[in-house]
Amino acid sequence: MPGITREEVAHLARLARLELKSEELDHFAGQLDDIIGAVARVSEVADQDVPPTSHPLPLTNVMRADEVRPSLTPDQALSGAPAQEQQRFKVPQILGED
């Protein structure tokens, strides 16, 4: 099984939208390598013909009737927003200038 390098941690952090500091990259690379090494034993069952279990219960989608019901007011829904404007969530720019 492959080890986990500093560069891989940096790549994974980008995928996970996590801006790690340089010292964190070194720190986590070492620890994650240890953890991956310790949990690698799951691969012992990899080629076995066993169905995977994703959930202890059989899940079914829960549907409700399509009808108007009381819900949070706009003020309540926005009450925890870091920034708001005109009863909307105010977010940083999504698209670049080009």
Partner: protein, 500 residues
């Protein structure tokens, strides 16, 4: 008039009975516990937020209801400490993280609604490992909780605040959540009772998700009967939660009132001993097995070889689900936002916010989960872990064809010193060795005190595991064991805790 030092030692069942009979008022009981919090919580740090006014208002409402002759809930006026992972309308909810510091939810979790319907008085929110990731409550962004038996030691995690609150008599009841052992493991190391109900028995609506296929809310208490009363108050189907079981709640209170193991077949799991287990823990567990035999149970050994892979599977599945669940903390709609100086894109602000808001353990698990789910590694890591999960579930099913319940130590060691495992994640993860298989399979389990380890004088937990939807068996066995131990010791174990 009963004095405060007497009130705080009462069980939840006793408090409810005395309030119902008019011997005590809910306000007196609440004030006694608030005074206890004032006296000891600076040292214990079980609470992140005490809702003094809210608790007294709830208590007054109970007293008025009684005065009007209205029917009271089964736990009317009993104070409770709530893990800070459940949303509470108008009361801060932080999940032990800087990410949600100061956030005030606009709605109650279903569990909170159920507690209010049972007339429980919610004292406040308890300390926890950030986003419930940890085995020691040291990962809280607000500082660790101390173990009431020895404040320099951990109270277990992630629900250390909840167990410490009941062990230090700040509340008779508490709520925890158990993803890999976070109710049972703190119960074991604080000498209290903790139950992980069957997966889906208690609604997850309004409980901040960590690993959705494993997370389960449940009761923390000082006695088996109190845990059963709380279990019945919070369990039941919730249409707002697609993982909620639509089936009757097992008769747990009745079981707790009729404890017995006579004629039962009880299995000892061969895999839950050996290297890494503290001698005093094994000794107290062996004595518990002898006790079960003396009470009329037939004890057999069962072999579950795949349990040896459970920890590995858990530390791939839980981080994977966490990396997905915690994607919602993007700094856009609620919680912290960092680096928004008008020049950065939403993507950069999200990355900076997550760097600033999450602690080490959360970051570690997000990276690990992202790795386990990433293209090219998915089958080897996440896929294999899910196969292990199938094998563990099958081994439980096979074991429960032979026995009614399984028993094991709850934790391999007693409470370790704060800081001892802080830089060694794998050593920390071992604390949940015996509890994790149950979360993977979704069945029910309880931890209750079975004595003090001779070498350090700290509590040892006995774990009882039952099949899914047979939670009442935990209480039947637990109540019998508890009664036998209390008779043997002459008092509940917690009374031996050094005074705070």
């Amino acid at each position: 008039m009963t004095d405060n030092s007497t009130i705080i030692k009462l069980t939840a069942a006793e408090i409810a009975a005395r309030i119902a009979s008019g011997e005590l008022t809910a306000v007196e009981v609440t004030e006694a516990h608030l005074a206890r919090i004032d006296a000891v919580d600076e040292k214990v740090h079980a609470f992140l937020h005490v809702d003094r006014e809210g608790a007294l208002a709830q208590a007054r409402a109970v007293d008025e209801k009684r005065a009007r002759g209205e029917k009271l809930g089964p736990l009317a006026g009993v104070p409770l400490a709530l893990k800070d992972i459940f949303t509470t309308k108008g009361v801060p909810t932080t999940v032990g993280s800087k990410m949600l510091e100061g956030w005030i939810p606009p709605y109650d979790a279903t569990l909170v609604k159920n507690l209010k319907a049972a007339d429980v008085v919610i004292l406040g929110k308890t300390n926890m490992d950030e986003f419930a990731m940890g085995s020691s409550t040291e990962n809280s962004a607000y500082g660790p909780t101390g173990n009431p038996w020895d404040l320099t030691r951990i109270p277990g995690g992630s629900g250390g605040g909840s167990s410490a609150a009941i062990a230090s008599y700040e509340a008779p009841l508490a709520i925890g959540t158990d993803t890999g052992g976070s109710i049972r493991q703190p119960a074991a190391v604080t000498g209290t009772v903790g139950v992980k109900p069957t997966y889906g028995a208690v609604s997850r609506y309004g409980m901040v998700a960590f690993s959705s296929s494993l997370d389960q809310g449940g009761p923390c208490a000082r006695t088996v009967l109190d845990a059963a009363l709380l279990h019945e108050a919070i369990a039941g189907h919730d249409p707002l939660d697609s993982t909620s079981i639509d089936a009757p709640v097992p008769p747990v209170v009745e079981a707790a009132r009729n404890g017995s193991v006579a004629g039962m077949r009880i299995g000892v799991v061969k895999q839950f001993r050996g290297e890494g287990y503290q001698a005093g823990v094994v000794q107290r567990f062996d004595e518990s097995v002898e006790l079960l035999k003396s009470l009329g149970a037939e004890v057999v050994e069962v072999d579950c070889p795949t349990f040896d892979l459970a920890l590995s599977a858990y530390y791939l599945i839980a981080p994977s689900e966490c990396s997905s669940n915690l994607a919602r903390f993007d700094g856009l709609r609620y919680g912290l936002r960092a680096g928004d100086d008008g020049t950065r894109s939403a993507e950069d602000v999200t990355a900076l916010t997550r760097e600033a808001g999450f602690g080490d353990e959360v970051k570690r698990r997000i990276i690990l989960g992202t790795y386990a789910l990433s293209s090219g590694y998915y089958d080897a890591w996440f896929g294999s872990a899910q196969k292990v999960r199938t094998l563990i579930t099958r081994e439980f099913e096979k074991a429960f064809e032979q026995v009614d319940v399984l028993v094991s130590p709850t934790t391999p060691t007693t409470a370790f010193p704060i800081g001892e495992r802080a830089d060694d994640p794998m050593a920390m993860y071992l604390a949940d060795l015996c509890t994790i298989p149950t979360n993977l399979a979704g069945n029910a389990a309880m931890s209750l005190p079975c004595g003090l380890a001779p070498e350090d004088g700290l509590p040892v937990g006995l774990q009882i595991i039952a099949p899914a939807l047979k939670d009442d068996r935990l209480y039947k066995v637990g109540a019998a064991v508890e009664a036998a131990f209390v008779e043997k010791w002459g008092h509940p174990l917690l009374e031996e805790a050094p005074s705070l």
